[in-house]
Amino acid sequence: MQSRSSLEIKYADWLREHRGILLKIAASFGREREEQADLFQEMSIALWRSLPAFKAQSKTSTWIYRVCLNTALAWRRAETKPRGHHAPLELIPELSSDAPPPGNAHERDEILQRLYAAVRALPPSERSLVILLLDGLSYREMGEISGLTENHVGVALTRARKKLAEAMKEVGNEL
């Protein structure tokens, strides 16, 4: 059995290396920043609780996607949470604040905002697959994470990409 401190070290490493996965999923499932912070916290808790079950049989990133997407799919907006008990907003950065300083940051931000809006408009299961696609995962890895066959992933992604292309038409994307 792993000691508490070794789990804590591993958890800190996961957060340092894969924080982006959590942030992207939070921004894809939560509309307002408050919702995103709540979901980010929920996923962090799920990730912490999943740590003892991780046997390194799959890639760490695959495991993290799996845990976080499952949490996000089952997550419901906490409308009933008592006032003042939402996760603090400083847990998550503004969408653009973590980014390297590019030449045309404004344009990049605008594209990301539109992309997130388009992703959020998709049904949750397609949304999950599109996040994985944008992160460059293969159909096989997507199948491992979502529990769908590669064939089904392909069918669902074709449909999702059409919707995404429609939503992103104005920025001239060839999806």
């Binding site: 949470k81 949750p124 069918v155 920025v171």
Partner: protein, 296 residues
């Protein structure tokens, strides 16, 4: 911009290894606090259950041993201790509820590998909660029946009014049992595909919603019966209505209204959203061909 550029923009938005030590530390602190709150809530609920069960057993024992109506002087210490225990139980449940509201919903100790697994695990946890609640209701029901039988024995000897209360309790218990009987039965889960689990979860969540939304109909006779048995019975025995009887009546009516509102709130804000989410997922899955989904 082509798709590869879009992917690059997406991937580069949160570079690996940025300096987030303070934010991560804060997050870790909240995770630890949530864990502690969750287990503290479990402990508090357990203590409240144990205390409540001990109180019920004690009332049942004292009532069964006593062969005649309690003299007022003898009732007082029992009543005061029971009020204290009830207040303590309510306080413990309230504290547990608050702790859970401040923390996150119990999401389990580990995470299953797929969405189907997740749903199955969530379902098991949800039905474990329901089972625990059913167990509480069954204990409560057995206690009510036992007390009704004891009271009936006393009523035969001392007061005709109690028969009405016993009758109402019998109506409430029989009505509740009958109502539950008309609802779909719990079935074991035979199909472990996502579609099968969804159908199973939807059916059982709908059952719970129906039960909680109709609680008023089996709560009213119980409250009326308890008011007849305790304050009205006391007033008749003493030949006058005192503040104690009025207070007790208000407390019972308040408790009934509280139970009704709590159940209705649970149905509307906890179960209905779950049902809607499950139905949405079912519609989405059936659109995209559930047969392709691997069972886990």
């Amino acid at each position: 911009m082509n798709f590869e550029d879009l992917q690059k923009t997406w991937r580069d938005q949160f570079p690996v290894g940025g300096e987030h030590a303070a934010a991560n530390e804060k997050l870790f602190h909240r995770v630890r606090m949530t864990e502690r709150r969750f287990w503290a809530a479990v402990l508090l609920r357990g203590a409240a259950d144990a205390l409540g069960l001990a109180a019920l057993a004690w009332i049942a024992l004292v009532s069964a041993q006593h062969g005649q109506p309690f003299p007022q002087a003898e009732i007082r210490p029992h009543r005061e201790i029971l009020i204290l225990i009830s207040a303590l139980c309510i306080g413990l449940y309230g504290a547990a509820l608050k702790l859970n509201a401040l923390g996150s919903p119990p999401v389990g100790r580990d995470d299953p590998p797929t969405l189907a697994g997740r749903l199955c695990r969530d379902g098991s946890r949800f039905y474990a909660l329901i089972l625990w609640r059913d167990l509480r209701e069954t204990v409560g029901g057995v206690f009510v029946l036992f007390m009704a039988a004891v009271q009936a024995c006393h009523a035969i000897r001392y007061a005709a009014l109690d028969w009405l209360a016993v009758g109402l309790l019998a109506v409430a218990v029989t009505g509740f049992a009958g109502f539950r009987f008309t609802l779909p039965r719990y079935r074991p889960l035979v199909n472990d595909t996502l579609a099968g689990m969804l159908a199973w979860s939807i059916e059982h969540t709908r059952r719970q919603v129906t039960m909680l939304e109709n609680i008023l109909w089996y709560l009213i006779p119980v409250i009326v019966a308890v008011i007849l048995l305790v304050p009205i019975h006391g007033a008749i025995a003493r030949g006058a209505i005192h503040r104690v009887e009025i207070g007790a009546t208000l407390v019972f009516v308040g408790a009934g209204l509280g139970a009704w509102r709590l159940n209705r709130w649970t149905a509307r804000h906890r179960l209905r959203p779950r049902l809607e989410a499950l139905e949405r997922l079912q519609a989405e899955i059936s659109r995209s061909g559930a047969s392709n989904i691997q069972s886990t």
